[in-house]
Symmetry: C2
């Protein structure tokens, strides 16, 4: 069993379509790669960090140093480290100046070894690669971000540190240089906020790479779950004629050029200014209180006068804004675009939800699911605005991404609405278990670097029971809360805000929470009305940190009820004719849920902002590439 | 082993989240379900066809018939079959009239059995369900398309025919009625063209359901292949600021309202009319020939005169169109839209390709892939127009879908361009093998109903070798062809048309074909230039029936070369800055291919039109829902 290099080919896994060995298959081995010592392999990756190890003249074999007569160039060369340290002291760019020096002084074989840590994105760990200056100039291979493909021998570490193995390069197959001055990742540990400007480079950082690998595992787990439970995958359309089901702002798809300064746009601007106004009004309230306090506390008169002056200014600003808004509101004219000229001869949108379309497939094939982006042209997410970010922060303006990845599923012939919740719970447990088992190293890394509660949080879903309460119970429970004052009062009929939801799941029940049977007004038109005539057969699964992850419901299968709801909500009936058709002919009872993928990535990685969890985020005012 | 009902629960697979048994798990068993005889199960589905079996009065137990005194109602009732046959003879709607009769005559227990074939979309086969009229009125459950959920006992067939088992219903749990007069699928075997108007119902037909199950299997096979080969899944953006890479018309995404009768639109209309003009010119040519022939053949003078008159009319139409076009071409004005007002503060499009974005992840994580829709606002597909549809058919106008599903992948550190072809070949072989193994029943059905060559064609990919020829060789081979006259002459430098490609793969090599090293002008700007300075490192995989399935290439990793190509093609450099960045910093050699998913579905099902293979097709002038 322990014979010399038994079945060497089996010990490493080649990247099938190149001779490169994927680093994860070396560093991820239980022995950390020790069993591969002595093997010749090809590895590739990008330099994460580097050092230079100067060979002492005496340890070098004479033939490596060239002729014994020391030329003027060699004298200069031997002083290079000295020059470099001087340059460093004066704040010059080390590598850049070295390049210049290298140009001035013709290159002799440099007696040094570049010690590189390279990563190929397959795992958190990096491999140490030693590159002799005879193979490649240190100035070429050492800058962070350099791409290198090298053939060499796996050996025991030559330096005493935490590394278990290293690779001694014998042949350099490719070098992709870096313009270090302009490379955005030259600096170490850039904050995630800054990395958002370099979406094309950021997966090279250890954190974003980890997040993307976890994201990949979650995708895979999702497909596996639905496949194992015999759900068929259906591609729902991205371009649809059905608009937002009355719930959110949407993008239009067109081949017609856009109008300038048009009415819809000013409506959007109004929205924005409306929010600004609200903030200012809240500020006024706060400032008035302060003034009152100052007056009561007998502070010096100057302070009181200054506070009053400040309050006045703010009030003026508010009335200006208000006047502007009123003026505008009279101006809206009727839009009479002729969409028969557009590509599809009608108005088309980017889909906000694939549920209606998916349901038509559920009404034929039974259990189906879809997985893809849905688009909301919201400038802000009002629900997450107040409680999380504080009312003076403007961060929230970017909080709601324009494209969320969503998974929707539908299953027909459901016996009980409860079964639908069970399916959702099983699904959450399945995917959380999956990444606990398959992403150990990445979870360890994000626990260390981003949020140490990540694993506990995943365990909470995998092992813990889920609390189930009706919306009515939730309102009652919240109304009994005395130790916390909510920004918005809880009243039956009103939507539970993020502050309420997070208080319930984090403070009261301390576990994942299912809230079901919401007032019908809070749910889309097609959710089945319960027998009480007031609530709808819907449920939300709320988890700590990110809030609602899943929104499920039973669809209204009764033609008359559905038709009435469409009328009640003033939706354009023509758009839903095809959906109503499903009730006219062979209507089936079906349930389904939408699962928000991006918040789950936050939950599983500890990140706080969706923009760091999405490969190419799009948000209001921002589409980089 | 053969004891009475051993491990009954193991024998059938319940739909996990309802008590319904999925039909495929009964009918797809090796014994066809015989082993389940005597079991009580719940099944659901839609009625595919039905018959009514009238019980003879003598076989009925007296208590079932009620009191012996025959009332007036019963006399009428006993005459119902007679009334019905009369109504049928006079062409009346059988079911509809029956409903009316049922209303007139109060319902006694009807002595009949409805014999239903129901399908739940899980497999091709349907299950026979017997419903006694005491359980549900035949007029309710018999119409095609009725949804039914029933509990009953599996039994031996009571009628002598091909069925192996049937279900005797004991309880009806749900009935979804059908308005038979308006139900689009009431008629049997509707042509696929007609079904396109009912995208929301068509998966209930056996053919479309089969196609969608095959489509689902192909999706699953795709994910499995890339997962097994350690490719990470990356979601590339649907909304992008990078336009079409100069290759095709694109959709714009906006929250600004569209302009009416704008310049871009008239440009698009010009395109359309240009094509119309071309068709008319071709018609004129054809008609002139006919007139000459008529003159030569000494036909009667009237016929000749009529032909000349007809030709004149067509010519006039052509000159009118030509004049209109000329007039328009002078009118174009400069478009100066201010996109800073739009949602993203810049012009954004629906992506035509995820390759550039994916490459940035490949330049960090190694092997990556993506799977999603790409959008082309093409009114027609010029390549498939002439050879396939004939120049007088207008069908082609709808041929090119606006959203194709495409799979793209990238792998870095590729040793040889050849490896990239090997990966593409392995992928094709893998997915074709997958559906041969997993979709036996569906393939059998589409072979019978759509195209009997389906299985042979899949075998051709799985077992057969792929022929590899360079573009230059392909041109030489085509130029030697004498037995076929091509619509377009083959010249080095010109794109090979579908007619050329299909001739090569179907007639000359009779196997899948790889054509590589195309002239650089025919490939996107980012394909690596070969050392000859003329050709690019690209390859296409062409298969019989559908043409190009895969387009692969090596990316240009050299900054200067790439920059030059962008200039040469007059592309807007600013849009590609981020992509060029990848070459400035740690550039890596990488290869990838785009795989067109929808044509593969055609290949695997024998269908001829993508619109029948996509769940919700979108094409020029057509977006139903």
């Amino acid at each position: 069993m322990d014979s010399e290099q038994p079945h060497v080919e089996d010990q490493i896994s080649l990247s099938k379509y190149s001779k490169r060995v994927i680093l994860e298959t070396i560093l991820g081995r239980p022995d950390g790669g020790v069993g591969l010592i002595g093997r010749r392999i090809v590895v590739g990756g990008w330099v994460k960090s580097s050092r230079e190890f100067r060979k002492e003249p005496e340890v070098q074999a004479p033939e490596a140093l060239g002729p014994k007569d020391v030329s003027c160039v060699e004298v200069l060369q031997s002083r290079l480290p000295f020059f470099r340290s001087i340059i460093k002291v004066f704040g010059g760019d080390h590598h850049r100046m070295r390049d210049k020096l290298d140009t001035i002084i013709p290159k002799p074989p440099q007696p040094s070894i570049s010690i590189l840590q390279i990563s190929d994105g397959s795992c958190v760990s990096s491999l140490r690669v030693l590159v002799d200056s005879a193979l490649a100039s240190p100035s070429h291979v050492m800058p962070t971000g350099t791409c290198i493909l090298a053939e060499g021998i796996v050996q025991k570490p030559s330096l005493q540190d935490k590394e278990i193995i290293e690779l001694k390069a014998e042949k350099i197959l490719h070098v992709g240089l870096v313009d270090q001055d302009r490379y955005p990742l030259s600096k170490k540990r850039l904050p995630l906020e800054l990395l958002r400007d370099s979406t094309h480079f950021r997966p090279r950082t250890t954190t974003v790479a980890s997040v993307m690998r976890i994201r990949n595992a979650l995708t895979q787990a999702t497909n596996t779950f639905f496949h194992e439970n015999r759900f068929l995958y259906v591609q729902v359309p991205i371009i649809t004629t059905t608009d937002s089901e009355g719930s959110s702002k949407i993008f239009q798809v067109t081949t017609l050029p856009a109008k300038q300064k048009a009415d819809d746009q000013s409506a959007a601007t109004d929205d924005f200014e409306g929010v600004k106004l609200e903030i200012i009004k809240a500020t006024i309230k706060e400032k008035s209180k302060q003034v009152e306090q100052l007056k009561r506390s007998d502070s010096n008169k100057e302070a009181v006068a200054a506070a009053i002056q400040d309050l006045k200014k703010t009030t003026e600003l508010a009335s200006q804004l208000e006047a502007k808004q009123k003026q505008k509101s009279g101006k809206h004219s009727v839009q009479t675009n002729n969409f028969s000229e557009d590509f599809f001869s009608c108005k088309t949108y980017l889909t906000v939800s694939g549920r209606l379309h998916l349901e038509s497939y559920a009404s034929a094939l039974g259990n189906v699911y879809s997985f893809g982006p849905r688009f909301h042209a919201n400038k802000f997410d009002s629900r997450s605005f107040w409680p999380r970010c504080g009312w003076l922060s403007l961060k929230w303006l970017f909080l709601n991404l324009s494209s969320d990845v969503s998974i929707e599923n539908f299953y027909t012939f459901l016996m009980q609405f409860q079964d639908s919740m069970e399916c959702a719970i099983d699904f959450l447990k399945f995917i959380c278990k999956w990444i606990l088992e398959n992403c150990t190293e990445d979870l360890k890394f994000v626990s260390k670097r981003v949020d140490k509660l990540v694993v506990d949080r995943l365990q909470l879903i995998v092992t813990g029971p889920f609390e189930k309460i009706s919306y009515t119970e939730a309102v009652e429970v919240l109304n009994k809360v005395t130790e916390r004052k909510f920004e918005t009062k809880v009243e039956w009929g009103a939507s539970l805000n993020e502050e309420h939801e997070s208080y319930l799941t984090e403070e009261i029940y301390k576990k994942p929470l299912i809230i079901y049977n919401h007032p019908k007004e809070l749910k889309p038109f097609n959710v089945r009305l319960n027998d009480d005539g007031k609530t709808a057969a819907a449920f939300d699964i709320i988890v700590p940190k990110v809030g609602a992850l899943i929104r499920g419901s039973q669809s209204e299968e009764r033609f008359n009820m559905l038709s009435t709801r469409i009328k009640e909500l003033g939706l354009e009936k023509k758009q839903y004719e095809w959906y109503l058709d499903l009730r006219k002919h062979g209507s089936v009872r079906c349930c389904g849920f939408s699962f928000l993928f991006d918040p789950l990535v936050l939950y599983a990685t500890g990140l706080n902002d969706v923009r760091d969890a999405v490969p190419f985020p799009r948000s209001f005012g921002k589409a980089n590439n």
